[in-house]
């Protein structure tokens, strides 16, 4: 089977012969039900949106560093304003930057791309439980792509009330131009992303519960799969609330229902809505989803990083069960901490105390995970591959993001730093320096399985080095900017006495951000070049243990040429008495014993 070279071979028995004859380019690559193709579709789409989101970020950074100066390259778009960006356009930029990054990049690249590609391969299944649903989960992303993309071009422009869309700003057109069609499209897009996530999450849960290979007990699952499983559970329970809230907001906007509009709400000198609602209600519903969502945006990366760290430290994962329990703990606690986004919102301050305590407690499983990662590297035999460097940097950067969370969890301190750049620093350390670095680790690590070739290691390391340096240059300084109280989401804050001296520091950060985005050119070239010209990888280029490494690279339709049978956990690296430094999950016990006997002679 090592001769399989086409990404998807239709010669593998199923689909049945009747379908076989109509298997065309369309059914193989476009409307494919093969989890690997769907995973790659998600990967390419999300990487493309990553680029768009990154460019939006640069435009935001441009305005923050040099407010009202002529925007380079795209300045022509602002011809009416003489090449400057208007403040309303600025609000659209940061709204859509966050929206794209969260809903079109991080969530779908983790669950959609890696969840799809890895789950069946790592548990030894030939595909997902519901291949058609799986295909739909990708295609439901397209209405969202179109809605978010088109919103820039409608009257009033794209949504402009932040990714959090707090009413009444988001519900009342009179309050903001982007709250017209832009916001409607935003809500439509959000709904479709939700449908897509829900279809995916039902599929992942079912597949992981029902389709594990013989011998693959729950406690033999790799951390990636545990993380994907718990993430799917989080999605399934949290998402309905956001969807319902989205419909309520839509109904407030379209049918003047007033779920979120209070009595006597006067916007732009006109009474708005029928009243009787509560703006805080939206915040509760939104964060009831969106706090768990921040874990949806990092748990899979934590799982993948755990697998990569063990492989290149050639060591078992330190504390497998504590790692599983802490993910479960994060997920459980994740449902009772949403109020920490609302300490200053006008919510009862006594309630703030309970959310403060639960938030303090959620830092605990994160700490346990960090210590276990350190334990995993300790005493290892570290191979500095690009994937490993990204995985190590995930640990290093997550420490920063986790620790800054404690400042904000402390309600009195949050009084000062809420809605400042301190928050921006925090979530970029967990989401960019954490999750995005974890995603790069995963791309370099599983690329050989996806395309049968390895990426260039030299340029991979250059990419790592530059990204690592520039990201810290951009985001670390945000902490001290936040310590001054520098507010987020301001098109120009330098007219305040308190902030007028901060422009040079912001310019420095923008230079770093430009460097960071530019470094991704190296990644993009390496990615596409390696797809076609990289060195051909065997089945198991990294000498890893998981089931996916027993399949051909890339695996054909149906994944495995022989049904894998699992005899051990995924982290049997450097087992004493065994000559090989790793035992794959499929290596039978007697083979290990034989190998041990052989090496004893």
């Amino acid at each position: 089977m090592s001769t399989v070279t086409a990404p998807v071979s239709t010669e593998h028995g199923h689909p049945p012969a009747s379908q076989h004859s109509v298997s065309t380019f369309l059914s193989t690559y476009v409307f494919s039900k093969d989890h690997k193709v769907i995973g790659l579709q998600f990967l390419f789409s999300t990487l493309l949106w990553f680029l768009i989101g990154g460019l939006l970020a640069l435009a935001v950074r441009w305005q923050v560093a040099w407010p009202w100066s002529d925007v380079p390259v795209v300045g022509k778009l602002f011809a009416q304003q003489g090449g400057q960006m208007s403040p309303e356009f600025y609000t659209m930029l940061f709204t859509m930057h966050a929206t794209v990054m969260i809903f079109l990049v991080i969530i779908p690249i983790l669950a959609g791309a890696f969840g799809n590609f890895l789950i069946p391969l790592m548990i030894g299944a030939d595909d997902m439980a519901f291949p058609t649903l799986n295909m739909l989960s990708y295609w439901f992303m397209w209405p969202a792509f179109i809605a978010f993309g088109a919103s820039f071009f409608v009257e009033g422009g794209a949504a402009s009330s932040g990714w959090t869309s707090y009413p009444p700003l988001s519900t009342n057109v009179a309050s903001s131009p982007g709250s017209g069609w832009g916001q409607t499209l935003w809500l439509i897009g959000l709904t479709f992303v939700g449908v897509s996530s829900m279809l995916g999450s039902v599929n992942y849960m079912t597949t992981i519960i029902l389709m594990r290979a013989p011998g693959m007990t729950m406690f033999r699952l790799p951390m990636t799969i545990w993380a994907m499983f718990i993430t799917a559970v989080l999605q399934a329970f949290a998402l309905p609330v956001l969807t319902a809230a989205g419909f309520m907001q839509m109904s407030d906007r379209m049918f003047s229902t007033g779920f979120f509009t209070p009595e006597n709400n006067i916007v732009n000198n006109a009474v708005a809505g029928p009243g009787g609602g509560q703006p805080l209600l939206w915040q509760h519903l939104f964060w009831f989803y969106s706090h768990p969502a921040v874990y949806i945006m990092i748990l899979p990366a934590m799982g993948m990083v755990s697998d990569i760290l063990t492989c290149f430290a050639r060591k078992p994962l330190f504390g497998y069960r504590p790692m599983v329990y802490s993910i479960a703990g994060i997920a459980g606690l994740g449902f009772i901490v949403w109020g920490h986004h609302m300490f200053m919102s006008g919510m009862n301050p006594a309630l703030g105390i309970t959310f403060m305590v639960s938030t303090m407690m959620i830092a605990l499983p994160s700490a346990v995970k960090t210590f276990n990662w350190l334990g995993t590297v300790w005493g290892g035999r570290i191979q500095f591959t690009t994937a490993m460097l990204f995985a190590l940097s995930f640990v290093s950067m997550f420490i920063i993001g986790g620790l800054s969370g404690i400042f904000m969890a402390a309600t009195p301190v949050d009084i000062f730093i809420h809605d400042t750049y301190f928050i921006v620093a925090h979530f970029h350390y967990v989401l960019f320096a954490g999750t995005a670095m974890g995603v790069w680790a995963a791309i370099y690590f599983w690329f050989p399985k996806m395309f049968g070739r390895t990426m260039n290691e030299f340029w991979g390391k250059v990419h790592f080095f530059l990204t690592f340096v520039f990201l810290n240059g951009t985001f670390f300084t945000m902490h001290i900017l936040g310590a001054v109280g520098f507010p987020r989401r301001l098109a120009d804050a330098y007219h305040y006495e308190t902030f007028h001296h901060l422009q040079p520091m912001n310019a420095f950060m923008t230079y770093c951000a430009i460097g960071m985005v530019a470094s991704q050119i190296i990644f993009a070239v390496n990615f596409f070049w390696s797809m076609f010209y990289g060195p051909v990888a065997g089945r198991n280029p990294w000498n890893a243990n998981g089931l996916e490494w027993t399949a051909p690279s890339p695996p054909g339709h149906g994944n495995f040429d022989v049904q894998p049978v699992v005899y051990r956990g995924p982290y049997e690296y450097s087992v004493p008495g065994v000559e090989k430094d790793h035992l794959m999950q499929t290596d039978p016990p007697n083979a290990a014993a034989a190998a041990a006997a052989a090496s004893a002679h």
Binding site: P349, M360, V368, T498
Partner: protein, 265 residues
């Protein structure tokens, strides 16, 4: 770059704690740090900030140094040693669960008092002034000569908040249209203004002078320019200022018209 081993990458990771600490060490010197605090309660917030900074700083330095040390020491290029086969340690798990749990719990309980002081122990007094946020200005309303808010003789001003120093101030915060946030960096005060709600905010300034009022919650395209000034003066000066503003208002408009001006009750 392919042959660079643990030594080089170790140093790259070592740069994180080294430069990280350097940034925080330099920040106060270059004035990119907590702005001057002129409030009676602010020291509680600032000292908590420093306490957490010290605590997280120690954890940050310790964990990042460990990571550096492991990267440096356990480089595969250093000899043909096999990795240590170890699957975990019950004792260590217990230790590194209990210690952070106790620390976090302590932190949670320790800070409650400061929070209660700023947000829960509302002084028993009538509001000194009402602040009504709207796109994109701060509308101010003083009780006027009768000392009662919401009567015909209220004094109306925009963006220019004057208050007496060394006295407990109670602001009644409202919003007319969308969310805003009343942020006083130098007084360590932040509170969202929510349409439909009256939210009390209290503080006491210990120094005279003029300071920024910042809007900290996105409120539309003009959010960035929703700036006010808060000026603390001595009691006699404050009374004189109030008198002057009051006569100015009476001169420009009869009291009855001022009533019509009241947009939100």
């Amino acid at each position: 770059m392919n042959r660079l081993g643990g030594i080089f990458w170790g140093l790259v990771f070592l740069a994180v704690p080294v430069l990280g600490v350097a940034v925080f060490a330099v920040a106060p010197a270059i004035n990119v740090w907590l702005p001057k605090d002129i409030s009676a309660h602010g020291y509680q917030i600032d000292s908590l900030f420093y306490f957490i900074l010290a605590l997280t700083g120690v954890v940050f330095i310790a964990t990042e140094l460990l990571l550096f040390w492991f990267i440096w020491k356990y480089d595969a290029a250093r000899g043909e040693r096999k990795a240590t086969y170890i699957q975990g340690s019950h004792t260590l798990e217990v230790v590194w669960t209990i210690i952070p749990a106790a620390t976090l719990l302590f932190l949670a309980i320790y800070q409650m008092n400061a929070w209660a002081n700023v947000k829960m122990r509302r002084p028993d007094m009538p509001p000194t002034v009402e602040v009504v946020a709207r796109q994109f200005e701060w509308r101010l309303r003083y009780p006027g000569r009768d000392g009662v808010l919401g009567t015909a003789d209220d004094l109306h001003l925009v963006n220019d908040l004057h208050l007496p120093v060394d006295e407990e101030i109670l602001v009644q915060l409202k919003s007319m249209d969308v969310l805003h946030s009343f942020f006083l960096p130098n007084l360590r005060i932040k509170q969202d203004a929510v349409p439909g709600m009256k939210i009390p905010v209290w503080f006491r300034a210990t120094e005279t002078g003029g300071f920024d009022i910042v809007c900290a919650e996105l409120c539309g395209w003009g959010h960035y320019k929703m700036k006010g000034r808060i000026t603390f003066v001595s009691r006699p000066e404050f009374d004189a200022w109030l008198d002057r503003k009051y006569s100015e208002q009476e001169a420009t408009q009869p009291v009855a018209e001022a009533v019509g001006e009241m947009a939100v009750r």
